[in-house]
Symmetry: C2
Subunit: 336 residues, 2 copies
Amino acid sequence: MAHGIEDVARVAGVSTATVSRALRGLPNVAPATRDHVREVASRLGYSASPSAASLASGRTRTIGVLSPWISHWFFANVIEGAERALRASDFDALLHTFELFRGGPRRRVDPVVLRRRVDGILVVGLPLAADEVADLSGLDVPIVFVGSGPPGQILVRLDDRLAARTATEHLIELGHRRIAHVTGDPGDVLPWSPAEERLVGWRSAMTEAGLPVPDELEVHGYFDVPGARETATRLLTQHPDITAVFAASDEMAMGVVLAAADLGLRVPQDVSVIGIDGHDLGDLIGLTTVAQDAAEQGVRAATMLLDLVAGGVVPQVTTFPTRLVIRRTTGAVPVR
Amino acid sequence: MAHGIEDVARVAGVSTATVSRALRGLPNVAPATRDHVREVASRLGYSASPSAASLASGRTRTIGVLSPWISHWFFANVIEGAERALRASDFDALLHTFELFRGGPRRRVDPVVLRRRVDGILVVGLPLAADEVADLSGLDVPIVFVGSGPPGQILVRLDDRLAARTATEHLIELGHRRIAHVTGDPGDVLPWSPAEERLVGWRSAMTEAGLPVPDELEVHGYFDVPGARETATRLLTQHPDITAVFAASDEMAMGVVLAAADLGLRVPQDVSVIGIDGHDLGDLIGLTTVAQDAAEQGVRAATMLLDLVAGGVVPQVTTFPTRLVIRRTTGAVPVR
DNA sequence: CTGTTAGCGCTTTCAC
DNA sequence: GTGAAAGCGCTAACAG
């Protein structure tokens, strides 16, 4: 059962070098030889030892996938798409999560554990500090960022500002003037992070519409349901004149809807809510949102990464489209 | 930057064998030597090449995680928990997804790709055929099944029958008599699969209560929202006398709630709905459910697998508790 | 407690 | 188009 390349070579009556070439589809092997070797290999149930192959070739056929979570809509879908694309090219996905804690620092991304272990790195929505990016770059393998990444790197993402403007403008067109924004973590202030970009998009849409943007309209929801629920409860209690809330993610928008329900506010009659994502379960509450295709971003990013690994070139920034999906959580501003 | 064990050995003034021992914390190394070697290694930024180490030792410090999806609540949470536990022991998680298609066969689990690549395998909610299990066992590494697994294997799971009975009995106590069940895929009929067990639990609870279980009460929801929504739409249209639906997962229960809404039925006034899982977003619609802790099952399974890899022994079956969470989608049977 | 040495199972020149 | 042989960078006996 546990055959090595020598067994195949012996049975096929060729050298191990030829077996290696034949099985990997390299040129300079006679078609007849190739077919014969493959037949023998499959009959013997042979497949090369990944460690031995990696050690000898320096390539691992493995991609490191770095992500803060997997149990969040965006991350799960990106990773699922990426894994599918990688597998289609016979690459493995090595999963590394880095839990983000509210306000606190997360475990540093340690490049050492990825050394000689992966041929490329996919960073999924992880707001890396500049020095972490530098460390990763030091690994000397291609890196693709999905959802969030520093300028100068290969990025697959949305036009976050535009998405935020789209959401905000939708609310403004409905007549809302006191529109709050639920953003992520207070520590997440890298200028290129989606949270920051969405914040900027909201602010500029407000300002252009001649609406003031006082500090109290901006609160932190930590990109999850409970975080947004808590913070929105406080917000809506302290500022009952707020008629609409734009959350930077659908999960946070769901938290806002729950908060409204907790407070006995009707959505959208008393307060309108919009998010960003196009979460599968938004439908449950008729959540209005600016939708994106997360799985496809994962596929694209993985495909690009494989191109890079193969020595190809890919566009620096790939911007995915978004579309406004109007459902039932947004409506006209209440008359009071 | 790319130092090898020889560099460390030379700088530290010892042999490579000593470096290897010191860095891995093996016995028979003088404490002073150990500290010195570690200091030199960290100063040089050295870490062993995983391929070389694997090739020489036969161990990979990697666990293969097999799962049908990652963007489903149960799977995402189990995998997240497992990854966390593995990382805590410096093990890597290699992700392999095997998409399940409605009614159709999925890609066969191919043991060859895992050969000499992993020290253990975690099978998450994947209903493997007997021959696939046999193939995996042939890899000669420990395997732990989470959520669903054949008898005779190491399992971490719920008492699925009990969970189903709990859900069904809750509805019966509320006075319901025509209680439908939304199960998974028609092809998923392995006697030990959670779908099958839950089906049996529902049936026996019905029978014990003296309620008939005609075929039309059992429909397939494919374990996802759209599948259950479609099938429940048909079900509730054709059989308006059904007053309650027990879905084998929360995601399917959500589909049923959506179907009810599509049909203008009020939940729970016209139809009660209950699921199994304790999905984070069940709160959104006040979903009544029989809750389980998926992440913790992932942690436990990974921990057990690491024990097995280390040569330890673990219990054959670990059964996690469930608890009935009554919210707003179940209520008294309507009076007509 | 530490060093020497022989592999681990492939890939990759370099000849032929 | 094919083979011989030299590594790839470690670990694991085995000595000492």
